[in-house]
């Protein structure tokens, strides 16, 4: 099998997993039970397909076996009439679904909304989506999130119990709630992407970035009218397009302004531009679209050589008003240094200097060190860079900062 064909096959399997699980779990809200049933269905497929051949419609076959499993389990647990009615309904549904398998209702979006429900612990939303929609194992998720596998496993089990016990609905929220709830879904997917972005050169994290982009595409395809979903996908693609350029051949970290633009992935950039264009058709409405617009501006500047820092600062102003996030203040300062100079940029950081979250936030100290160095405040720069070095977890970044600190003494 060629790599392409294998990838295509994997894509189909991945597509089916989330689709089947979402369908199986939608009525019972028992995600763990649905996973068990589906796992057994896959296991019996592995046993019988080599003998009988792959059925014409593998999805319908898997669904039928899994649903039978599921009804058996429910029957064992509850023998009340209500239970029987429930089973009856489920069986009718499954028969309808396997009779016309092309229309197995796609409930993945509803499942994602359940996983990113406010009742689910915020930190577990991304892992839950990765497991239920993509079928990723707790071990793989744990590796990307740097959590012991057993701990991740326990947390996933707890989160699923919560969905079942709290009766969290498997539904796409009504119009008025949609924006806020969608935000949680997008945030979870973006968190998964960020895991794959910040850890340079880590293979489990690289894979996580691919999975997050796949999920982003899925959300865009299921909610084609939502500009923020497109904005987030565009944001991920802009970052992904520059992945290769972030390291030089020796593995050293390369900041944006020094990157070799011939290493950027042009098709990904064009895809991002097009998504952003569609998202902004009715004017930008959310943080992901603005963040994507900032990335678009960075790329335009590097490609054309035309200074556009003024518009970058303006975009950050909008983003700051929207999010009130200290991280935005920090990123805005870097842009401000290009328009009003490093001293003004440092002054703009005073508003977040006492924020406790900044105390051990590596990018804060790296930015402070960088700005202080440009402002000629060598002592401040040395202290901030030292802290940034101490807070780094990545060797490439650590070495980059050390070189900056050395230059401080030379210059």
């Amino acid at each position: 099998m060629t790599a392409d064909a294998r990838q295509a096959a994997e894509q189909v399997a991945r597509d089916s997993y989330g689709r089947l699980l979402a369908f199986l779990a939608a009525r019972t809200r028992d995600v763990a039970g649905a996973e068990d049933a589906l796992a057994e269905a896959f296991a019996s497929a592995l046993k019988s397909w080599p003998e009988t051949g792959v059925p014409a419609n593998p999805d319908a076959w898997l669904l039928t076996v899994a649903r039978r499993r599921q009804t058996d389990t429910i029957r064992r647990r509850q023998t009340r009439v209500a239970g029987e009615e429930h089973i009856q309904l489920m069986s009718e549904e499954i028969e309808a679904a396997s009779a016309s398998p092309d229309v197995i209702p796609d409930r993945r979006l509803a499942l994602m909304f359940a996983c990113a429900h406010p009742d689910v612990e915020a930190g577990m939303r991304a892992p839950l989506i990765l497991q239920t929609i993509l079928g990723m194992t707790a071990v793989d998720i744990a590796a990307a999130f740097l959590i012991p596998p057993a701990t991740m496993g326990q947390r996933l089990v707890r989160a699923k119990a919560r969905i079942r016990d709290n009766g969290i609905p498997f539904a796409i929220p009504e119009r008025e709630d949609l924006a806020a709830r969608l935000d949680a879904v997008l945030e979870a997917i973006y968190a998964a992407y960020a895991k794959g972005w910040t850890e340079l050169g880590d293979t489990s994290a690289d894979r996580m970035a691919d999975e997050a982009i796949w999920l982003g595409r899925l959300v865009v395809s299921l909610l084609p009218e939502e500009p923020e979903a497109k904005g987030m996908l565009a944001l991920m693609l802009y970052a992904e397009a520059r992945r290769e350029a972030r390291r030089d051949p020796t593995g050293a970290y390369v900041p944006l302004e020094s990157q070799d633009i011939t290493l950027w992935d042009e098709p990904q950039i064009l895809a991002a531009e097009s998504l952003l264009h569609h998202a902004n058709a009715a004017g930008p409405t959310g943080r992901y679209q603005i963040e994507a617009a900032i990335q678009s501006a960075h790329i335009a500047r590097c490609v054309s050589g035309k200074n556009n820092w003024q518009s970058v600062v303006a975009l950050y102003d909008v983003l700051l008003a929207l999010t009130q996030s200290p991280v935005v203040t920090l990123n805005r300062a870097a842009a401000l240094a290009e328009t009003l100079g490093p001293k003004a940029a440092l002054a703009s950081l005073d508003s977040i200097a006492d924020d406790k979250r900044m105390a051990d936030y590596q990018p804060y100290w790296a930015a402070r060190g960088h700005l202080a160095a440009r402002a000629g405040r060598k002592e401040d720069a040395h202290e901030a860079l030292t802290l940034a070095i101490g807070l780094s977890t990545d060797d490439a970044v650590r070495h980059y900062l050390m070189a900056q600190r050395v230059r401080l003494q030379d210059g």
Partner: protein, 116 residues
């Protein structure tokens, strides 16, 4: 949650490490610990484990032995303290420790004394 972060060094790996860079990294790391606030402190670095002495008292009889307590490749080399809300953050602080590259950092939550 307060954690004691216990450093176990692989003596061979440590001997091969670029020493100057390692101790420069450590200076930066300790400064970051000091800046992180109350509940964080750089601990102490211990002499090599082969210089250890182990004492046991059994039924009134005292036994004194040379060498480290555990006969393993990676030996207790030092410790530091952190105070963070989640295990994720503790893992991050373990990852930042320069010793993580030359052995392992064990994360142990500290038993808090409840007021009686």
């Amino acid at each position: 949650m307060r954690y004691m972060m216990i450093i176990h060094h692989d003596a061979d790996a440590l001997a091969k490490a670029p020493q100057q860079e390692l101790w420069a990294d450590y200076a930066a790391f300790n400064q970051a610990l000091a800046k992180a606030g109350a509940g964080f402190s750089s601990g102490l670095r211990l002499h090599e484990a082969k210089g250890a002495t182990v004492v046991r008292s059994k039924a009134g009889k005292t036994e004194v032995l040379d060498g480290p307590y555990a006969d393993t490749r990676e030996q207790l080399a030092g410790y530091y303290f952190i105070d963070v809300p989640t295990l994720e953050q503790a893992v991050e602080w373990a990852n930042r420790c320069p010793s993580a590259k030359y052995g392992a950092v064990e994360i142990r939550p500290i038993v808090e004394q409840t007021a009686s």
